[in-house]
Subunit: 199 residues, 2 copies
DNA sequence: GGCTTAACCTAATGTCATTAGGTTCAGATG
DNA sequence: CATCTGAACCTAATGACATTAGGTTAAGCC
């Protein structure tokens, strides 16, 4: 009495891991749990994925791709504050919808370079960010600094929110909107270097 | 031939865990490893700490306390941009010096409430942040929004930096300085709500 | 119909987390 | 000083997991 083959592949395993991550948290994504979900023995997974760390890396890349696609869709044809808000909301929405996947993208990168090279997500995300800021007409190195500031703020907010850091009375939603306003204003009048500062 | 007693206590175990976290990363902090470092059997730790999760929670609280103290020291007697920069630099320095401990503070909070109540760190940190922003004379709810923005930016930057997100040519150091400039400018001219916006 | 190649499986090893049920040391009590 | 007590440790055992080695078996190709 044999079961039919599950027809696994690296992508299928990764997807199962990603789903599990969203359901029970990334650090409860175990080989055993993924195998269980796929109706397969633990050892079978190793034919498709090098090991747990590799699986996590794949989940991270999958998440990066998905997130990028969503941002690209939502920012298409927009510019200026419109684009900034669309970008940020898409970013945050993805994190909300896929907390486990999003967490995976935070891991200090220890991903198979060969694999990473094939995944368009991370590179694409950087391009999108630079493109989104084009309307603010910043020159290097200010542009890079601005990109880093925006990324930091979005990631920081979403991350703290997920960790329960905003347990306060005021809805995170409202603070989010104000932060985006603030970012926009900031980008419009990016502070010139103080004359006194030697840097 | 018996060894001398190690004279353990919950705090000592926590400290060993924290040191280990900084050395090998928080998720390599295991009961076994901590026990090994203390020259004790795994089971002995359970007399001082409920379980792994509890240990991590204690490390997080320890880190929060330490970080808060450092920020308090460095911002004492300062105000305005001076205070902001001191605050931010102390924050970032702590994360650099104690990456494992810092990571522990990011965990979605699952800490024994009774324990958390005794730890002044988290509460103190919030107070310090509000105090630091006093110079900018914001009223609620803007003040809360500003606090959240600052926390998000600092945490996001440090977190991305630690994850290797700034692999670019431009030194993170320089971007950091510019981001603080930007935050300061932003706080000085916190954008008024747009007249058109119904919120 | 045999062959190759994946896709799976069984078995085994080693690391951890955690619990149960003792020892033993250090200091208070008599 | 003898002892009692509680905290500090230990041994032993169980049960997840991760990972490897060494088979089976299904599916498509000739």
């Amino acid at each position: 009495m044999r079961m039919a083959r599950a027809g696994l592949t690296a992508d299928r395993v990764t997807l199962a891991g990603a789903e599990l991550a969203d359901e029970v948290g990334l650090d409860h994504v175990t080989m055993s749990a993924v195998a269980r979900r796929l109706g397969v023995k633990d050892a079978s997974l190793y034919a498709h994925v090098r090991n747990l760390e590799d699986l996590r890396g794949r989940i991270a890349l999958l998440a990066a791709d998905e997130k990028t696609i969503r941002i690209a869709e939502d920012t298409a044809g927009r510019a200026g504050k419109d684009a900034l808000v669309a970008f940020a909301n898409a970013y945050r929405a993805y994190a909300h919808d896929h907390p486990g996947r999003y967490t995976a993208t935070q891991i200090p990168i220890q991903i198979d370079p060969e694999l990473a090279a094939r995944a368009p997500g991370p590179r694409r995300a950087v391009e999108l960010t630079y493109g989104m800021l084009r309307a603010y007409a910043l020159d290097e190195p200010d542009l890079t600094d601005a990109v880093r500031l925006v990324r930091s703020t979005l990631h920081g907010f979403v991350s703290l929110e997920a960790a329960g850091g905003f347990a306060h009375a005021r809805p995170a939603e409202d603070s989010w909107a104000r932060c985006l306003d603030a970012l926009h204003t900031l980008l419009e009048r990016w502070p010139a270097r103080h004359e006194g500062d030697p840097t």
